[in-house]
């Protein structure tokens, strides 16, 4: 549980030596409480203080990194239950499951699907991040063969090794021991053996149990065996159980500081039907699953799931932004109308949608206003006549159009006079106040 600044202060040396870079121990304590400083900065902190404050300062949900190098992904380290409270930090990782029986062509196809999964959405690159190799045949050599195929075929992609048989994991991990794989899973039956492997190979380890009480007990036990990078599987497979159990895990960790459940969650959402699998995965994205294992990663499925993940993990305080540009909507020609709006993604999407609805091909100038909506940007002095004029002039849009007319949002009609002054030779037309007025407005002109 988080300690207050005053509580932390009690455990500091109280020498006000300034070696930590803060004027007093109390000031340092306040920074520690706000998680803006680390206790490491204090050279004189006692071992007891380090232990106590270290435990209190640890994030309520432990951060786990899968893999190494530039394809490594971090999960966990979340601090809230609802995105509007702050934000969700580390997006759910999607992994495709490859069964040991799929060795060869089937596995190669899935590996290729992962490698070509990257899409670009609102300026972010999104992809399937990991591959899970699943043991079904009980044969260590067969399992190791697929692991090798994955390591060779998708270099650097984080691997999840799935088997409850320690001998199988031993065989598989020999091909990726230095790649920080995730082992699935330690159970009540094999905890010692799995913990030993994870510890030796510095791998992360899933603890899997049926139900939350057994899970908490097992994670304590495995931690006691010296493995700290843990991931949880409560056995939830049905959407209902996922929402309920994941909510309890997240609440217990964040609101109660219950350490045995303070780890990221792994969710197996495999379904025979691809769309059902997508729907279950969507529930996982929204409700706290950090690693989601899918049977297949079809392009259409991943487009939907990656978009959902991007939506849910967007910072609610920082509006999504669209790149500044003059966008072509429909088959815009030289004579097509030119409109301007700000680069708040929602403004852009709504305006663009309505222009598309109108079926009048158009040019849409989107100006970088740090993601503010039209009125807010105007009020903040970021959507002014001179800034708009500069953008229009520098955008080079004049080369694409044969006219010099700019349509501005009705809410900033007040700018039309000064814009005509700043953009000599241009005609400024005031458009509708709301985007939904655009189809009527555009059709009337066409």
């Amino acid at each position: 549980m988080a300690l207050s600044g005053v509580e932390i202060f009690k455990h500091l040396p109280k020498t006000n030596c300034k070696k930590c870079g803060h004027p007093t121990c109390l000031a340092f304590a306040m920074k520690l409480a706000a998680k803006q400083a680390s206790l490491d900065a204090c050279p004189d902190a006692s071992e007891d203080a380090k232990k106590l404050l270290g435990a209190a300062a640890a994030p309520p949900i432990r951060a786990i990194t899968l893999g190494t190098g530039d394809k490594a992904v971090k999960v966990g380290d979340e601090i809230c239950l609802f995105r509007h409270e702050k934000k969700f930090f580390n997006p759910s990782v999607f992994a495709v499951a490859i069964k040991d029986t799929e060795a060869g062509d089937a596995a190669a196809k899935k590996i290729e699907a992962v490698k070509t999964s990257e899409i670009d959405r609102v300026g972010q690159k999104l992809r399937v991040e990991a591959i899970a190799v699943i043991e079904t045949a009980g044969d260590p050599a067969k399992f190791a063969g697929v692991v090798k195929q994955v390591v060779d075929g998708a270099p650097g992609v984080p691997i999840i090794l799935v088997s409850k048989n320690p001998a199988v994991i031993e065989a598989g991990i020999s091909h990726c021991a230095d790649k920080k794989p995730l082992i699935y899973a330690a159970t009540a039956e094999n905890a010692e053996a799995m913990a030993k492997i994870a510890k030796e190979k510095k791998a992360s380890l899933v603890v899997a149990a049926d139900g939350l009480d057994a899970l908490a007990e097992l994670s304590e036990k495995v931690k006691g065996l010296g493995v700290e990078d843990l991931v949880l599987d409560s056995g939830a497979r049905k959407a209902k159980d996922m929402i309920e159990q994941y909510t309890i895990i997240r609440r217990a960790a964040i609101k109660k500081g219950f350490k045995p459940l303070g780890y990221p969650i792994i969710s197996f959402v495999g379904r025979d039907d691809a769309l059902s699998e997508a729907a279950a995965a969507a529930v996982g994205v929204m409700k706290y699953a950090s690693i989601i294992i899918l049977n297949n990663v079809e392009k259409w499925k991943m487009l939907a799931l990656l978009s959902l993940r991007q939506n849910i993990y967007t910072d609610p305080q920082v509006p999504m932004q669209v790149a500044q540009n003059v966008y072509k909507v429909g088959d815009a020609k030289e004579s097509s109308p030119l409109m301007i709006t700000t680069n708040f993604s929602l403004s852009y999407f709504i305006v663009r949608g309505e222009v598309e609805n109108s079926k009048v091909p158009s040019w849409l100038a989107v100006m970088d206003n740090e993601g503010l909506s039209v009125l807010t940007a105007w009020a903040a002095g970021k959507f002014t006549a001179s800034k708009i004029a500069q953008f229009i002039t520098e955008s080079g849009v004049e080369k694409n159009i044969s006219h010099k007319e700019l349509i501005i949002p009705g809410y900033v009609a007040i700018l039309s006079g000064s814009l005509e002054e700043k953009l000599p030779g241009w005609k400024i037309t005031v458009g509708p106040r709301e985007a939904n007025g655009l189809p009527t407005f555009l059709k009337a002109r066409a």
Binding site: F82, R83, H84, I119, R121, L212, D213, A216, E220, K238, A239, K240, I243, E244, T247, I248, R251, A252, K255, K256, F258, K259, P260, L261, A274, L275, S276, A278, A279, A280, A282, V283, M286, K287, E298, K299, W300, K301, M302, L303, A304, L305, S307, L308, Q310, N311, I312, T314, P316, S345, L346, F349, I350, G353, E356, N357, N436, P439, T440, K443
Partner: protein, 312 residues
């Protein structure tokens, strides 16, 4: 360390709102906890799914969608029956043909379509105007009278026209869909205004303004989560109305549901992609607390109902 299940204490509850009558009547709302958390509350009604029908053959619906509906889209009555056969809980008739930019159909014409559709089905009916605030006042008034006794939900009442639309619903014993613009306070404000004019708040279904996956879904999602928290945790009576999400209209105009395979090879096949777009949008709204979804694709609806069964 033993785990004590951390439960929330809820002081509020969502109103039960019944639509239609008889054996096929549908009640939505009634939740006493955040969505699907049965370990700390009860959910007497599962979220309902309505399939949308338009009064005129919609020319702006993508091909994938038209194909899924088959040849009934020129006839709203047959279309509504088709929706019922497909397993929709409710039919949502959108009178898009009354929009001045469409066919500018008269309120009388709209009233006839609504009455005919209502007579042809035994599942409940939601009736939506064209979204033209001014025209909707006349259209919805005529429609409400023509479907009196059917216990429909009519809408959408918005800031500009709520008085007339609510009066029409009240005079003809219908429920009311009230839409605000993606803002917790505006949603509450509209419910307060409606209550002040004497409209029973327990007959309102609130529309927080939907958005499609990838196109602002997160705004609707968080507004809904906040509305539901205010309703249940802060016991705010003005927030305790069930929530409707009108998703089909948003989903089926984005590029992802329209771009052919050749245009976007990296997006996968159009048919799967488009259907998934509506299902995943629906899953988002359900997780955030939707009590009623208005959808367009019968296959997407069926899959969404499967998900609802898995969540209950």
């Amino acid at each position: 360390m033993a785990l004590t299940i951390p439960k929330e204490t809820y002081s509020g509850k969502i109103y039960n709102v019944q639509l239609g009558s008889g054996a096929k009547a549908v009640t939505i709302g009634g939740a006493s906890a955040l969505p699907f958390l049965s370990f700390e509350g009860t959910f007497p009604n599962r979220p309902a799914v309505a399939l949308e029908v338009a009064d005129i053959a919609p020319d702006d619906w993508p091909e994938t969608l038209k194909k899924a509906i088959g040849g009934v889209s020129a006839n709203p009555v047959q279309w509504a029956k088709f929706c019922q056969e497909q397993g929709a809980d409710i039919v949502a008739l959108r009178l898009i043909g009354t929009h001045p930019d469409q066919q500018n159909k008269s309120p009388e014409e709209a009233a006839k379509v609504a009455a005919d559709v209502a007579a042809a089905i035994d599942i409940p009916l939601v009736i939506l105007g064209s979204g033209h605030a001014e025209k909707d006042t006349q259209v919805l008034q005529a429609v409400a009278t023509a479907t009196r006794g059917k216990n429909c939900a009519i809408g959408k009442a918005v800031e500009e026209n709520y008085k007339t639309v609510a009066a029409a619903a009240m005079a003809n014993d219908h429920k009311l869909i009230a839409m605000s613009q993606l803002d917790v306070n505006l949603a509450k404000q509209l419910n307060i205004l409606l209550s002040q004019m004497g409209f029973d708040k327990e007959r309102i279904i609130m529309d927080p303004m939907s958005s499609a996956l990838g196109y602002g879904l997160e705004y609707t999602y968080s507004v809904m989560e906040r509305i539901r928290q205010a309703a249940l945790l802060q016991n705010d009576p003005m927030m305790q109305t069930p929530i409707v999400c009108d998703i089909g209209a948003n989903v089926w105009k984005v590029k992802e549901t329209m771009a052919p395979d050749a245009e976007a090879p990296e997006w996968g096949g159009l048919e799967d992609r488009a259907r998934a777009w509506e299902v995943i949008t629906a899953s988002g709204m359900l997780a955030a607390g939707a009590d009623l979804l208005i959808m367009r694709h019968p296959g997407a609806m069926a899959k969404t109902k499967e998900l609802i069964s898995e969540l209950m």
